[in-house]
């Protein structure tokens, strides 16, 4: 597989120009050479035959395109994902940081929908000592919840902070592009519910797929291109201030996603302030 053009790392402008050429070219090359597959994982799953859940949909390369011009920060995706996938409190497979940028009166809001990038070169797969995580033929990076020991290596290895430990299964967990849905020809829950139409889902290998066409013909960006992971979640309108280290003042939840929600003991981490006075002052 072709390694990413390192010259794109130092310069965002170069990256933007180069993304269409170098980045996407790598997909095609990767396809031709077969997937990055963890041998142990593959062995553990041979008994399942050609079950799509394990092997994915041959010939396809699922990607997501997020048009930030259309994101309104409504968090419908965040919620739909939690309900569809039964994600425990305080954990998120997808989340949307909501920040304020600029200074008064020229301030504006910016949103950055986040999820697993289903990278072409996922750094989480190779570190798994149990062979519990692998990439399907269609690019979806999966976890075998029966095999995962819950060691957390992959959580640390992901440069995008996309993985977390699920306190219910005590395994690693992350976005799967809703593989249970896409394997039935449906859309991921977050895409279905996106009110602004910012999230789009498609097959990069299909030249007629509108998402693939947009990715090939429009300037698109990825998060932290310097990781070399070649993310397959693309953005339109990803500015420099959002691309590498999210800058700006958080206006919704705190920086720490898990600070919201409940702890493992089921109690809320935020304690109410109950003091109030009604008397005239």
């Amino acid at each position: 597989m072709k390694s990413p053009d390192k010259s794109t790392i130092s310069s965002r402008r170069k990256f933007l120009m180069g993304a269409g050429a170098a980045g996407i070219g790598a997909v095609a090359a990767g396809k031709a050479q077969g997937k990055t597959t963890n041998d142990a994982a593959a062995k553990g799953r041979t008994a399942e035959g050609r079950d799509t859940a394990y092997h994915g949909q041959a010939g396809k390369r699922w990607v997501m395109l997020i048009d930030l011009r259309k994101c309104v920060g409504c968090q419908a995706c965040t919620v739909a994902c939690k309900i569809e996938n039964n994600i425990p409190d305080g954990r998120f497979r997808t989340w949307v940081p909501d920040v304020e940028i600029g200074t008064f009166p020229n301030a504006r809001r910016a949103f950055l929908p986040r999820l697993c990038n289903h990278c072409e070169r996922p750094s989480c797969v190779e570190v798994c000592p149990a062979g519990a995580t692998w990439q399907r033929a269609d690019g979806v990076v999966e976890i075998d919840y029966d095999t995962c020991w819950g060691c957390g290596s992959c959580v640390d290895a992901c440069p995008y902070d996309a993985r977390f430990m699920n306190p219910v299964t005590q395994t690693a967990d992350k976005c799967t592009f809703c593989s249970q849905r896409i394997d039935q020809g449906l859309l991921p829950a977050c895409v279905e519910t996106c009110i602004g139409g910012a999230r789009q889902f498609g097959d990069l290998n299909d030249p007629n797929d509108p998402v693939a066409r947009t990715i090939r013909t429009h300037p698109v960006q990825v998060l932290k291109p310097e990781t070399g992971n070649e993310p397959r979640v693309f953005y339109i309108g990803l500015t420099h201030e959002l691309q590498n280290n999210l800058q700006g003042k958080p206006t919704l939840w705190s920086e720490d996603r898990e600070a919201a929600g409940k702890g493992d003991d089921g109690t809320w981490k935020i304690e109410p302030l109950v003091e109030m006075e009604g008397a005239d002052v």
Binding site: T176, Q180, P272, M276, A279
Partner: protein, 1011 residues
């Protein structure tokens, strides 16, 4: 975890959450299978839900997963009324997930053809916002009340016992010493007049000396919170049958001045909206597209698409909210709170001075002349208004008779003919002189346009700039840009503009921007909406019944009535007294003045109440300044209001002060028929119906407890007309019974299905199965004749009835056009008076300084040196005003709210991000945490509503002697409504807009103190 389990067990025993253990089950009620955690149901798909559609790989077609039903209904997590597709697990009957209804206009720009089979829509979902997605957490809230509760202690002590439905109905109907079983000394001995006792007085006058007050039955007051469409009509039916005029919704704490200002310009319309998808320039005032407004998600969708196209739009608001302003084509204009009218009047002045208005359009005085000239609407701009000082009709439109014209047919208004230069009847003139002042038949007159121009010229652009904090050059720039796109520009406003004492005039001024460019009915301009399929008439007449008539009398909040026509006024005048001020204001131009109900009842002005029903109402939480100890104490005293019944789904912040809690249904368990919002431009009626079996208990004859069941059972006990055996006439003269809510709502559905003489198709067998409708039909078979069911089920299968999406436009025109006369002069307002000051209201749009009802400018009432800040509330896309604290996923995303201030304001007060502070107002103080922002105007405090609850699961309650523990996240955050500014001269009244009737949310003065 242990606490949660115990709590659930306790709930089941006590009658809360009876039918379901709550959504928490999914998250917490798991039994670990080994040390490593719970085994996921599928090794790869993990704990994710099974999909509702299965792919047939050979054909590429989808077939429904037989384990689930999909039903289309309507949301009520906010009032956007978005269509929902509800995925229901057939085995458990529980909702698994909610997505959008792709057949409904809110949920897709290109919503789907009504006839498309549901199975073809698997990959064409509708969208729905975060609140819509979490709706199942409202339904399965472990704090749901599912059986009637009766207080066992004093009001507000939160000590309850579950009682049977029969006991509940009997006690409230028959009255007597019904609180003898409580330990409340104030009411143990109290003889309570029940519904029957009050109904027996239906022929007695409320006040023998003031017959206009109507009958004693007006002593039943229904303070409804959110109740819309046909559910509201049901409440009205009961009120009329019982004989009370006092039946309300909550609109004055919402945005009623927006309704009234809109009605003043567009008669009988309460909202007009921009065609966002076709406009080239849009101004949003006091509302942020993508964060709020109607429908929130649809405005978000259209503006998101517009942004991607590069369409320019501006959001005018003191606060930069989520959603609206991002990228290069959108701009935030920060404005001082409540001064939108000054900015608008400045723009109007610039537009008129620079000839940047559509004079030609404004010169056509009737629709015929307008259409002959290729226009799509007409206005009163050229109509003459009497300005003769001291003339008995000063402020009225000049009539043809007064002008000395032969009174012909048609409308009674006069213009100066453009060609003749002489007075002509407005109805007959072709083109009229627009800007005119002169004398007609000895009476001094001015055209409505001249009055507008003079009003705009009361201040210079610089003065307007100084008032609103937007530079004069910027005002001119906005006006120039607004007038640079022909008809493809539009101005839109919402709550932020009108929740001020000058709200009506702010809104009136803003409407003028659109009128001056003549954009109504044009593609890219302003739409009055596509309307609905009705439902109250057709095959069945739901408006009438034998013996049913409209209740009469002055409403207890004196809305829709002039003080000057009251006995009180006449007596004072006859006695030679100054009739002003009245004891409390009267509101001749508005409706649903919700905030006046409790103080009026307690003061007995103009009369007292015997029975109060709260339906989905929480005045102590929502009304500015009313959640205070003094008012709560008065309400707690049974001598002030002997019987209070709250219809609620939980023990809420206000319903906790009731005598009884009536277990109501949630939006997934109830009915409504409601028209689409104007934003979508198309015609449609959405239908909310019970897509799951209600969690509430059942009557002996199998009807689920609900607000409607309660009203039916009371009505039947009293033998009220319009209920019981012979209640609903059909067009063949047959009378149908009304004993269950389906008896009523299914007939409305039939009217919708057959509306316009163009019935919907029969439901397809496959759709019947996907929606699991056979069982539903069987359960309610008797409510409709067999031949109507296939069409009624088609409406249910689609979640309503909607015209094709392409009907939105007709070439360069909108598909649905409004042709009544637009008004730039509000004659009926100009002819009325403020009942406190006796002064006439202005009839033209203008900048008015905000003041108390007695006329004290707020700047004098609360001087800036003492109160340097102003509090603004907001309701973003993750919250509805007082609800949704049970939606824990939303709380995970935003667990608390903050006192949001500009970094410069923080510097002035020496505050850092996250500091704990006291927010002080003239009525109290609350502690909260500050968040420093750039997108807040300096000098302003803003906070999200929906936090800081004391009820709704936030406090411990005793039920049947058992303690139910609170969920503490529900009290997290800060809520400032209870300490908001009240009017100094009227007891327990928020600052109020005397014309539009809005309670003021955005004028409370404040300061911050380190906590």
């Amino acid at each position: 975890m242990k606490t949660r389990r115990n709590f659930l067990k306790l709930c089941a025993a006590a009658g809360i959450g009876g039918g379901a253990a709550g959504y928490y089950d999914v998250l917490f009620h798991m039994i670990p299978f080994n040390d490593r955690g719970e085994k996921a149901p599928h090794p790869v798909y993990g704990r994710s839900d099974a999909p509702e559609w299965l792919l047939d790989r050979s054909t590429g077609e989808h077939r429904p997963n037989p384990d689930f039903a999909l039903r289309h209904t309507v949301d009520l997590q906010c009032h956007s009324e978005c269509g929902l597709r509800v995925k229901i697990d057939k085995k458990s009957g529980r909702i698994a997930r909610i997505i959008g209804n792709p057949y409904q206009a809110n949920c897709r720009s290109d919503y789907l053809d009504y006839k498309m089979p549901i199975a073809k829509t698997a990959r064409l979902p509708g969208t729905v916002c975060a609140r819509g997605n979490t709706g199942l957490q409202t339904v399965y809230d472990p704090y749901r009340v599912t059986v009637p509760l009766k207080r066992t202690g004093p009001r507000g002590a939160n000590k309850w016992k579950p009682i049977s439905w029969e006991q509940f109905i009997k006690e409230v109907v028959e009255g007597g010493r019904i609180f003898a079983d409580t330990d409340d000394p104030a009411s143990k001995e109290l003889e309570v007049l029940g519904f029957r006792g009050l109904y027996e007085k239906r022929n007695e006058p409320m006040d023998p000396e003031a017959p206009e007050m109507g009958r004693r039955t007006n002593g039943l007051v229904i303070q409804g919170g959110r109740i819309k469409g046909t559910r509201r009509k049901f409440q009205t039916r009961f009120a009329n049958a019982f004989g009370t005029v006092n039946e309300f919704e909550h609109t004055n704490v919402c945005e009623v001045s927006h309704h009234i200002a809109t009605d003043a310009v567009y008669p009988h319309k309460h909202a007009v909206k921009p065609d966002i998808r076709s406009a080239e320039f849009v101004m949003f005032w006091g509302t942020s597209p993508g964060d709020a407004n109607f429908p929130m998600q649809t405005m978000a969708k259209y503006t998101a698409e517009a942004r991607a196209r590069g369409t320019r739009y501006v959001v005018v608001d003191p606060v930069l909210h989520r959603g609206g302003v991002g990228g290069d084509s959108a701009e935030w204009v920060s404005i001082r709170p409540g001064t939108d009218g000054a900015l608008a009047m400045g723009m109007i002045r610039w537009m008129i001075e620079n000839g940047r208005y559509n004079a030609d359009y404004l010169s056509y005085p009737n629709q015929r002349a307008a259409e002959a000239a290729g226009e799509l609407s007409h206005t009163d701009a050229s109509f003459l208004v009497i300005v003769e000082p001291g003339h008995e009709r000063e402020g009225a439109y000049l009539s043809p008779a007064e002008a000395g014209l032969a009174v012909g047919e048609g409308e009674g208004h006069v213009v100066i003919g453009a060609d003749s230069g002489r007075p002509e009847p407005a109805a007959e003139a072709g083109k009229a002189r627009l800007d005119h002042a002169g004398t007609v038949n000895g009476i001094r007159v001015k055209s409505a346009f001249r009055l507008l121009r003079e009003s705009a010229n009361r201040h210079s652009l610089e003065e307007y700039a100084a008032i609103c904090g937007v530079a004069a050059e910027k005002i001119a720039d906005l006006a120039r840009e607004f007038t640079s796109h022909g008809r493809k520009a539009a101005s839109e406003f919402y709550r932020g503009v009108v929740k001020h004492p000058n709200g009506f005039y702010n809104g009136f001024a803003l409407h003028m921007l659109n009128v001056l460019i003549g954009n109504l009915n044009w593609k890219g301009g302003i739409s009055a909406g596509g309307g609905s399929y009705g439902g109250m008439t057709g095959i069945y007449d739901l408006n009438s019944a034998p013996g049913l008539s409209k209740a009469k009398g002055i409403k207890i909040n004196r809305e829709g009535a002039h003080y000057e026509s009251s006995t009180e006024y006449r007596k004072k005048v006859a006695a030679g007294e100054d009739p002003y001020p009245a004891r409390r204001p009267w509101f001749p131009h508005t409706f649903n003045v919700y905030s006046e109900l409790l103080p009026s009842i307690i003061e007995g002005y103009p009369y007292k109440a015997d029975i109060l029903i709260w339906h989905m109402a929480t005045p102590f939480y929502s009304v500015p300044g009313q959640g205070n100890e003094e008012l709560i104490e008065k309400v707690k005293d049974p001598n002030n209001i002997p019987l209070i019944i709250a219809s609620d789904i939980v023990i809420g912040d206000t319903s906790m002060y009731a005598d009884y809690i009536l277990p109501d249904t949630t939006f997934m368990e109830r009915w409504v028929h409601i028209g689409l919002h104007e934003t979508t431009l198309v015609k449609g009626t959405s239908v909310r119906w019970p897509v799951i079996e209600p969690l509430t208990g059942k009557t002996a004859d199998g009807r689920h407890f609900s607000y409607e069941t309660f009203l039916i059972d009371v009505a039947e006990a009293l033998g009220l007309p319009g209920f019981g055996k012979e209640a609903i006439p059909d067009r063949n003269g047959r009378l149908w019974p009304l004993h269950s809510r389906e008896d009523y709502f299914l007939k409305i559905t039939a009217n919708v299905a057959y509306a316009d003489g163009d019935p919907v198709p029969d439901v397809a067998e496959e759709d019947m199965q996907i929606c699991d409708l056979a069982a539903f039909r069987k359960e309610f078979e008797d409510s409709l004749p067999a031949d109507q069911w296939p069409k009624v089920l088609q409406v249910l299968a689609r979640g309503g009835r909607f015209e094709p999406a392409e009907n939105a436009w007709d070439g360069e025109r909108l598909g649905h056009r409004y042709t009544k006369r637009l008004r730039i002069y509000a004659e009926e307002v100009a002819l009325s008076r403020n009942a406190i000051t006796g002064k006439r209201f202005p009839g033209t749009p203008m900048w008015l300084e905000p003041a108390t009802i007695a006329g004290t400018p707020l700047a004098e009432l609360d001087p800036k040196d003492k109160w340097p800040l102003k509090i603004l509330t907001y309701k973003g896309s993750l919250q509805t005003h007082s609800r949704l604290s049970s939606n824990t996923i939303l709380r995970e995303i935003q667990p608390e709210n903050w006192i949001e201030i500009n970094v410069r304001t923080a510097a002035e007060f020496g505050l850092k991000d996250g500091d704990l502070v006291w927010v002080e107002t003239p009525h109290g103080r609350r502690k909260g945490r500050v968040k420093l922002r750039e997108g807040v105007l300096p000098g302003v405090i803003t906070f999200s509503v929906g936090y800081g609850h004391w009820g709704y699961g936030a406090s411990a309650v005793d039920i049947g002697g058992k303690r139910v523990l609170p969920d503490r996240i529900r009290s997290a955050g800060i809520h400032l409504n209870p300490i908001m500014r009240r009017d100094p001269d009227v007891w327990q009244m928020p600052l109020i807009d005397p014309v539009g009737g809005s309670a003021t949310f955005f004028e409370t003065p404040a300061r911050l103190q380190h906590a």
